[in-house]
């Protein structure tokens, strides 16, 4: 007896309410964008400049005492948060100290770090610095630019590739799905105020890759079915294609999620934000390849000349790499 995530044969009418799905996705995108505009992202030092220090002490973290110890140093805005993780030892107490970028100085100097350590060790002599990261405003500005370019470039390159292999309607559908995924991921980071740093950009690009993977598999089947059922209406072909690939879509999402969830739970707190972005992205990406990419395709329509020379969706499609 095999484990089946979805019945062997499904015939769900996914596009009965396709306008509703597009509407919901559109709404979510608006909400995500509004949250991003109003609340903004909780940028990490990669993008804002400043210093984060991860402390490790044997005694429990006393945020108030830490804060008092640092007041004299006049470092401006200092935020201290305690970090909990199941992988810590019983006598391991970790805190994250974030110091704003100091004026007239790029990265924080060795003396300042040393002073902070001295002050904190008066609170707790067992305290050590597990890591110190400091990014000056100059570099953080460049990192933002590089990140924006990377995400745009990735989406652009993908648009081009899909246009080459399919047709422009497919490319547009896939890219709208990608924009949807990226926007929703940014939205949840803004809504939950999870720290947004350089690694999250990597996660975003992976989401782009993953979501695309899903979309392309569906589109590949659409392309095939368009050739097989030349007379069937587009909505029927799309529906059929999605139903046929549904089992695979779920299998892959589940195996990927299995891997990611184990990383989320066991991988430690350093990359938890990163993994969270990916888990969210896999879920959103799976949804969008069906309800956004295909719905957009339905909305745009596909040229379906029965003329042999211009079979639907065949630009370079016979090149089987």
């Amino acid at each position: 007896m095999r484990l089946r995530l979805v019945p062997q044969e499904t015939n769900w009418d996914i596009f009965a309410r396709w306008k509703l799905w597009l509407g919901i996705s559109g709404m979510l995108m608006v909400v995500a964008f509004a949250s991003f505009m109003l609340q903004g992202l909780n940028y990490g030092i990669d993008f804002r400049g400043g210093t984060t220090i991860r402390t490790d002490a044997e005694a429990p973290v006393d945020v108030g005492a830490y804060r008092d110890a640092l007041v004299d140093l006049e470092l401006g805005d200092v935020s201290i948060t305690e970090i909990f993780d199941p992988s810590f030892d019983a006598d391991q107490h970790v805190a994250m100290i974030r110091i704003q970028a100091q004026e007239d100085q790029e990265s924080v100097s060795a003396e300042v770090t040393q002073q902070v350590l001295v002050e904190l060790q008066q609170v707790d002599p067992t305290l050590v610095f597990a890591s110190v990261e400091s990014v000056g405003p100059k570099v953080s500005g460049e990192l933002i630019t590089a990140a924006v370019i990377a995400v745009s470039l990735a989406i652009g390159a993908v648009l081009f590739y899909i246009w080459l292999r399919f047709e422009w309607q497919f490319a547009l559908g896939a890219v709208l799905a990608l924009v949807h995924d990226v926007l929703l991921t940014i939205g949840i980071f803004s809504e939950l105020q999870i720290r947004f740093d350089l690694a999250i950009i990597a996660a975003l690009l992976t989401i782009v890759g993953y979501s695309l993977n899903d979309t392309v598999v569906v589109f590949d089947r659409v392309r095939e079915n368009l050739r097989r059922f030349k007379k069937a209406p587009l909505s029927e072909v799309l529906n059929r294609s999605i139903n046929e690939t549904l089992s695979r879509t779920f299998m892959t999402s589940v195996t990927t999620l299995l891997a990611l969830v184990s990383l989320f739970v066991l991988g430690g707190d350093v990359i938890r934000g990163f993994v969270f972005a990916m888990i969210w992205g896999v879920i959103v990406g799976t949804y969008s390849s069906i309800f956004v990419a295909s719905a957009v395709l339905l909305y745009l329509g596909v040229d379906r000349d029965t003329d042999e020379k211009s079979k639907a969706g065949t630009q370079f499609a016979d090149i089987d790499a």
Partner: protein
Amino acid sequence: MLQFPAWKSVMISLVCLAGIVFTLPNGFYNRVEQANDARILLEQGQLLTPEEEAAVAGWPSWAPSGLVNLGLDLRGGAHLLVEVRVEDVYAERLEGLWPDLRDALRERRDTVGTIRRVERDPTELRVRIGNPEAMQAALEAAQGLTQPVVSLTGVTSRNYDVRAEGDELVVVMSDAEKTATDNRTMQQSLEIIRRRVDETGTREPTIQRQGTDRILIQVPGIGSAEELMAIIGQTAKLTFHEVERRVSSANEVAPGAIVLPSMDEQGIYYVLGRRPIVSGEDLVDAQPAFDQNGRPSVTFRFNPSGARKFGEYTTNNVGRLFATVLDGEVITAPQIREPITGGSGQITGNFNVEESTRLAILLRAGALPAEIEVLEQRTVGPELGQDSIDAGRIACIVAFVAVMVFMVLSYGLFGIFANIALILNVALMFAILSVMGATLTLPGIAGIVLTIGMAVDANVLVFERIREELRTSKGPARAIELGYEKALSAITDANITTFITAVILFAMGSGPVRGFAVTLGIGIVTSVFSAIFVTRMLVAWWYGRTRPKTIEV
């Protein structure tokens, strides 16, 4: 299809075998690393300690010894991105030009009139002349001091641009000369930073130039970055100056002289001759020592020319003060009691032993030609790195087992084939990472875990397709064949698009993100290989042996 050509099977098997062989050293990471380190010492012709001998014996020399490099976030270490203030050198160059320009203008005093230097902007040399109508003559005199430089574009230009502004003669460095100077400054800075880092005796530091004026320094395994920062960040420019007088304000007007603060005494300043008597460039050695009162100090020795200059000066100025200046601060300003002609001396100041040791290192390595500024600094302690490795390893294993169990539950025997391919896939990934000497970072581990999840995708596509084809009641052989055939375009398209994003990540990202892109990209290649070739070969073997009438996928 199910006739799998023998040569193809052999090739695939060989690749898989190579993958396993080249992955193996990573299973014995510490042992192999120590053996590699010891062998490097052996090659350098050094004698080995018994422990190092044991390390060499611990891993046979014929076995592959390539390891995955652990990134700084896993091994612990320091990452610094610094910017060299290349403009500092411009001012220094103009300062060097001033005496020559002054002499050249003095020769034409009759036409040019009085000359006076106007100090406004350190990147230009401004001279006011008495007879503005004779500016042309002054310009010619200045022009005569310039020399041609050959730039990359082949257009020859002069090293200084000379122009007139009212009654002022302005000399600035030309763009071609600036570029040439920048390059020289960067070369020197790289060399000096490399020497300083090497002096600290850490293993495999990475020191490379980035862009026009930046240097990236990565030192793995260092416990405290503060020391590294202190060593790299200091210019360590040592000069000896004549002292005009001691004052208590920095705003002292001192034409032709400089006012510098004292390092130890608050509120004390020295008015010093602008031109150093001798500078740190003339040093040949510096060692930490103790003075006659038992205080930490640094002894140094000059080269012959330095020794002569210093000897001459001290002979002529017995009884006066001279100042030892380090990076714009007066360390000491002792009286010259007798001529110092031996070419060696001692710097005493308010040092502790650590500081005197560090100062000696810095003086030996030489001064940086310009100040540097730390733009980005990331240090990770070795414990945190180890915690990350441990957490990553557990997560990998759990992810692996979970995915494998799930595959067997879903696809039975075919799931086992896919799992074998998955194991080989991870082995191949590590093999490629090791052979390339690529760096594994924490996001890189995430990339591996993600690949474990996604690697089965190609197999899932094929298996689902086979199921579909079976439903349309073709024979098993035909169904398997069609399954592979028809899933291929989806597999290629899906993986090429993901690969595109990995390439972009690699090109645009830095540090850890790049590590993620590397594992993701390699993972895509190996997972496609293992899905299309390895599983297919396994299925072909199995089918050829058992010839089942029906199959269940």
